[in-house]
Symmetry: D3
Amino acid sequence: MSRPITLFTGQWADLPLEEVAKLASEWGYDGLELACWGDHLDPSRWDDDEYVQGRLDLLAKYNLKVWVISNHLKGQAVCDDPIDQRHKDILPPAIWGDGDPEGVRQRAAEEMKNTARIAAKLGVKTVVGFTGSSIWKYIAMFPPASQEMIDAGYQDFADRWNPILDVFDEVGVRFAHEVHPSEIAFDYWSTVRTLEAIGHREAFGLNWDPSHFVWQDLDPVGFLYEFKDRIYHVDCKDTKMRVGNGKNGRLGSLLQWADGRRGWDFISTGHGDVPWEDSFRMLNQIGYEGPISVEWEDAGMDRLIGAPEALEFVRRLAFDPPAAAFDAAFSTKTE
Amino acid sequence: MSRPITLFTGQWADLPLEEVAKLASEWGYDGLELACWGDHLDPSRWDDDEYVQGRLDLLAKYNLKVWVISNHLKGQAVCDDPIDQRHKDILPPAIWGDGDPEGVRQRAAEEMKNTARIAAKLGVKTVVGFTGSSIWKYIAMFPPASQEMIDAGYQDFADRWNPILDVFDEVGVRFAHEVHPSEIAFDYWSTVRTLEAIGHREAFGLNWDPSHFVWQDLDPVGFLYEFKDRIYHVDCKDTKMRVGNGKNGRLGSLLQWADGRRGWDFISTGHGDVPWEDSFRMLNQIGYEGPISVEWEDAGMDRLIGAPEALEFVRRLAFDPPAAAFDAAFSTKTE
Amino acid sequence: MSRPITLFTGQWADLPLEEVAKLASEWGYDGLELACWGDHLDPSRWDDDEYVQGRLDLLAKYNLKVWVISNHLKGQAVCDDPIDQRHKDILPPAIWGDGDPEGVRQRAAEEMKNTARIAAKLGVKTVVGFTGSSIWKYIAMFPPASQEMIDAGYQDFADRWNPILDVFDEVGVRFAHEVHPSEIAFDYWSTVRTLEAIGHREAFGLNWDPSHFVWQDLDPVGFLYEFKDRIYHVDCKDTKMRVGNGKNGRLGSLLQWADGRRGWDFISTGHGDVPWEDSFRMLNQIGYEGPISVEWEDAGMDRLIGAPEALEFVRRLAFDPPAAAFDAAFSTKTE
Amino acid sequence: MSRPITLFTGQWADLPLEEVAKLASEWGYDGLELACWGDHLDPSRWDDDEYVQGRLDLLAKYNLKVWVISNHLKGQAVCDDPIDQRHKDILPPAIWGDGDPEGVRQRAAEEMKNTARIAAKLGVKTVVGFTGSSIWKYIAMFPPASQEMIDAGYQDFADRWNPILDVFDEVGVRFAHEVHPSEIAFDYWSTVRTLEAIGHREAFGLNWDPSHFVWQDLDPVGFLYEFKDRIYHVDCKDTKMRVGNGKNGRLGSLLQWADGRRGWDFISTGHGDVPWEDSFRMLNQIGYEGPISVEWEDAGMDRLIGAPEALEFVRRLAFDPPAAAFDAAFSTKTE
Amino acid sequence: MSRPITLFTGQWADLPLEEVAKLASEWGYDGLELACWGDHLDPSRWDDDEYVQGRLDLLAKYNLKVWVISNHLKGQAVCDDPIDQRHKDILPPAIWGDGDPEGVRQRAAEEMKNTARIAAKLGVKTVVGFTGSSIWKYIAMFPPASQEMIDAGYQDFADRWNPILDVFDEVGVRFAHEVHPSEIAFDYWSTVRTLEAIGHREAFGLNWDPSHFVWQDLDPVGFLYEFKDRIYHVDCKDTKMRVGNGKNGRLGSLLQWADGRRGWDFISTGHGDVPWEDSFRMLNQIGYEGPISVEWEDAGMDRLIGAPEALEFVRRLAFDPPAAAFDAAFSTKTE
Amino acid sequence: MSRPITLFTGQWADLPLEEVAKLASEWGYDGLELACWGDHLDPSRWDDDEYVQGRLDLLAKYNLKVWVISNHLKGQAVCDDPIDQRHKDILPPAIWGDGDPEGVRQRAAEEMKNTARIAAKLGVKTVVGFTGSSIWKYIAMFPPASQEMIDAGYQDFADRWNPILDVFDEVGVRFAHEVHPSEIAFDYWSTVRTLEAIGHREAFGLNWDPSHFVWQDLDPVGFLYEFKDRIYHVDCKDTKMRVGNGKNGRLGSLLQWADGRRGWDFISTGHGDVPWEDSFRMLNQIGYEGPISVEWEDAGMDRLIGAPEALEFVRRLAFDPPAAAFDAAFSTKTE
């Protein structure tokens, strides 16, 4: 099985990176998708060569590689409106600053440029993250959100991200946006519109995380085929639907994770409704060559049980395609 | 068929009330659910007896009655956060004022008190409307919205609406909140929580509009049974699901109404997926005694075709229950 | 449209037959399926020629015909065990007698023989009814019901019905058992077994009433094809499923008819889940030549509204097959 | 209702055109989609001006128009392999000739050129038809059909149809291929491939007939959006699925039409499983401006009942979109 | 994994308890749910301290615990009507006696009191069992079962069980009724009604066995939440649905277990349609603290293969909830 | 586990039989279903005793048995029309000869007779294979395929296979036709018709391979019961459905195997949608006594991984039925 499987460290950032590396290595992961928070990776130190080398050395010590780094939390703040307590809770003080929304957005944008730079220093070709969105809050379409307001939101995204992507181009790194509710691209048609907004520039692609597709009734496998030239990374997170009793709503009822009354919930990879095997086979078909990264989120399960189990699950199904077609066996040429 | 059927005038407020009344009367509606916008009804004139009588006279002229009035647009502003352009577009200048959010909210709250007062003057027992919500924007739960933030949102709702409901109690009118995305109660579990937040006070009940239940996978019929003592009004709006091709998302993709790529859309009553007959039968079972009101919304159809067709549809299915059980015919007593 | 449509009078037996005939005639029914209870038809008077002619005259007065008569209530008592208050409520005193179960069963069996005899006198070829069952009560299979007990139930049925069917054969009339829960044949496999028990004798066939198939997940159309030589009559009764909210159970919860919490309920023909058009087309295919009879049962609707509406519904869909195949139009022979 | 509704005469070609025109006119159709068989229209007489004018006069006499003509039967023979008895049965002797397959194909191709020419003469911009296919017979993929064989089939199609389409271009008419099993394009992906094979030349578009999509599990509404610039015509034919009992197979079991054991069957428009209303709304959205044509096929129903009923059905649902959005009614601008 | 998993011995009562204990211990079960039949436990010996201690010693010898005992077979006879051969087959001679129904019922009731007493002596807090029902036989609602008859059945249950529950209260033990067809509470609404009938007294709770929910279309997970304060025990039995071919009926056709024509069948835990993982997670959420007991029933599989496999299945999914939420990892507090 | 599990060698015929035998033996298979192509088995050498014994010795060397042999490729050519390149690719030169279709058919028929003869020599009672079909190409029913043409196809089959089956009868071997698209019997109703065509002669039975049932919406378990006396062999091949996104068609779009856009695809046993466990249980019920053979086909997976995995999957679920019913444990007889 040649495709590498990595662990995304975002949900482990309360632990020191070394501890996470040790665990992942013991479980058999091939590498880490480093999160740019906790003590895992600090993009602002991108020109500190010693720091960068130190990170690589730490990974090497545990026989791990890094193909991708992630900075969801800062990307989120680039376009978001409103900027509120939720952002303060997940941003470092240097970016939150005085909390003035526009200032937060601009500092977050700078951080994303630095994330490209540190990626390049690490030899990493892909940065995964969120874009934020000034129009997500209009999702219910009431009070009425006009076409003009929606258009303005996509334009705001383009205006804020094009300068960031210029830096990505400069340093030869690509950004992989995670299609996700609360972001500028959160489903199929909004992804079409987002790519148009940014002129389909190559610096901007997609992180395919199917967990968000399931509860929106989207086909994650067809999505891979349709956007096959923009699949820059793959995150494995699973979702379990729990609608069907007439009470549990598709929107989750603002209930916390792991509450069984939510209409859907994140769940350990392989325990949910994502068609994993079909997805991995389609990744083979479209020629995706990167790693598969386990983004482990399940508020009802202990992560120390779940993370190694997820690795085993993915290894079993993410097999390589065969070299020859089976019809060959019928051929008279073999006689 | 004894249950009255009314037309909600909210989607007709670009026309003078008299024109709407004339149309509704010709089509055969029994009354109007008056919207408190356009020139239909102005709550701020609640103590102008002549104005109030004039409204009643106008309805009488067309042989129409009024059992319920509605003020969704102002109710929406009571709790909303952010307050933005969308609100400016739907609020009268006197309530928008300088647009300072907290001022808008307070002026909207005063308007809702006046709505109770004018209802009492009109002899109307029920006001339908929205509550707004300061936490709707957290629906995607990312960035993480803590239990504390959610709790604060329900508390904010209670703090803002209790004084309004006090006025409702004073004048003997009840508020019927329309369970609807972007409001404090938008599905089953959020309705449970909302009623708890307000101490289950009788002044606060529900406007059952099943269109919002369909795309959230909620059971509108079971909802009637569960909240049978809080069903204060019934609005007929229908929803057509258009998911199932893997591309049209359950959230609507921020596409405008009538775009066939939306995963769901409002549609003329009887053209969609609401189980109307079962619903009307359950209304009979729980003893709901009010009118059924057609809230006509369908961006792909002409309302002049749709409104009379919807009336005919509802009349055919909203029949009264029979007097006796059919098993009586098997009884030997009849021999 | 040549196939006659009749009204089954069983659910109208609280009214005098003349009143029912008058209503049915006004609505446009072609005939009546006479129930052998109320004052509609009394099998014990089978050899009273004046009585029999009087019934025919009454129908003729309203331009109605009779192709089939029904005696569900007495047939039910032939095999049932226990015999209890429910039977007392639906049986005439002469059959109930002292209520001793075996006596009731035997008097009911005699009544069924008389029903065949009066059918012959009326010129009617088919008697519809129930068989009762001594093993229906074992349906949950707990406490364990052994194969021997089940076998004994089918044998009891054969032992009790063969002598009755001998009379049917004598007078040239056929019995059409309504496949129905609480009877010896209530679904597909129990019908197979029942026909075996009775040696597939021609006197015993089936009354196809699809309402009971719907909630058991049976295919009513396929049933017609499989038992095409045993379809002796067709009753139109409809069923609406109301499961799907996790609470309403498939068994009905012992709730009364028209309670919206039942997982299924009888409903006016055309308002439920029976695939009527496919069924009528299959009746054409298998060459069924008898009438279609509306057995109107809907505890949530007024029968005076429902019965004419059901007639209109059936007339529209129970059309004759065409004379020629449409492919003929492609043929070069026509050039 | 401004969109014209026409009747396709292909299934009526056993009748003289005048008789069909008379019927269609009485029923209220706006025009006819003329079939090029029976006596309806003979493409070989394209340069006989008197003949052409005679056809137009006949239509005018019954107040009917013609926007589209059809030649499925001859188009079928252009690519088919094998050419057999089935073709002989539907081809005129002049085209069948000695039945040598290649000769048949070439004469059929000439006929299609003439069909373009007569369309031009009639002032018609669109010819509907089939292409035939040399690779349809490989549909089960056993014995193995290699990629090379499949590729050759698409190439054969392009080689045979490009010269025909050249004539279409010359005379300013477009060909609308009906996506249909047994043709070169029979589903979504084969349509993609077919359009590629022909270089997306504008002369070649699609006749959208959703009946063939239903039993292949294709989304007919999404198809309209995806190929919105290639929808040249619309035929209304409906399909009823009858799988679900484990016996009726999706492929139809080689049973004749109207046999209820087929897993699917053609059925009168509105009696089947096509989402007609959503489809008509999508036609509004994509700006389709042509007629909607009823292609009536239902082997279980009399066409004299079905054809007027289908017209009424389509008229009721194929309504025009409204002029303004309903949200306008919420605007404060109206106050 | 801290939650204990036990084996219910009811389906093993043909073996001596010691043999069952030996097997269960070898397989790794934590304890036994002792059945009060076979030689496993004899409630009539509740005041024989030596006997009671002997049972505990036997379990201790195999390192097994007992948290719950079960007496389904005797509980069944408390309310059942009719009492027949099926009961004779499963009751000990001392309770069957002369078979007079009322005598059987009363002796069964005494046995249930003794079961509470022996539970107390064993240090066991919960007795699992059936109630029987005098109205189950009315499930098909024909002949008509009036509301009065149904009411009388619930009253009969209360009258017979309240004295039994008084003894439970005396000795500090609770009764957990298994919601099951043929019992007084067999689905959601009948459970609501049953709890009302008994005044919601705390001595009467529920044994959640989801196998009976599956074929009735009930939501077993929602049931746990709704009755969260009455879930006194959990039995794992699974059900496989086999409807869907139009022939296999939802009621099972009175066919024996393991006949593949039944519409549903009991099956080894994990082989059926129960949503086990969601259920176990909900048990965590509602704070259920008792054991999970495997009630192994599968007439198509060898129990010596099935019982250890079921244990492994349950162990893998019935994991403990985590200590902290994963969102903690996003917090800036960790930096 | 007593039922033997074999590997069908058809998809391994590019390897020498000895290599396949070695692999299968190492993986734990009990035997081989020998394919009559590659070097695996040559029916033309049926009277070469040394050759036959050599084959048996080779199997014995690897501790493998043979219960069944297969000759799909030659059987295919017996009835097929057209005979084309696809056949040339899979037939040996001796049978293809000059490629004249009728000659190919007759030589293929001779080969099938020899296959029966070599089976008898090997001590094998069953030959599995295809029949071919002259009417499969009419599956789309356009151009119209008349009932006469279909009838002729079944007659052609009978005419060609009866002489072959005569040889089967002579040597005491049975033919098991694999119900499969492109064959004379490809679904339920065509199997009914095929058995009629051949007079239900015992020499002709069925090879149950459920992979072809899945995408045709057939019930593979019910099929076993219905044709229980004609199930002569069982092949395990699985199918994964990939419709549901509105684009992937049920017919496969003439795309090659392993293309994720196909609406269905063959997949390694246990990875698809076949209800394996229910099927194996039904095989127990109907008394099928032969081997279960893994026919491994999955163009997206390496067969060296898939074949042993499939064996493990089948072993786990194809268990024997138990000796006694579990209800026995409730019996008072054990006390």
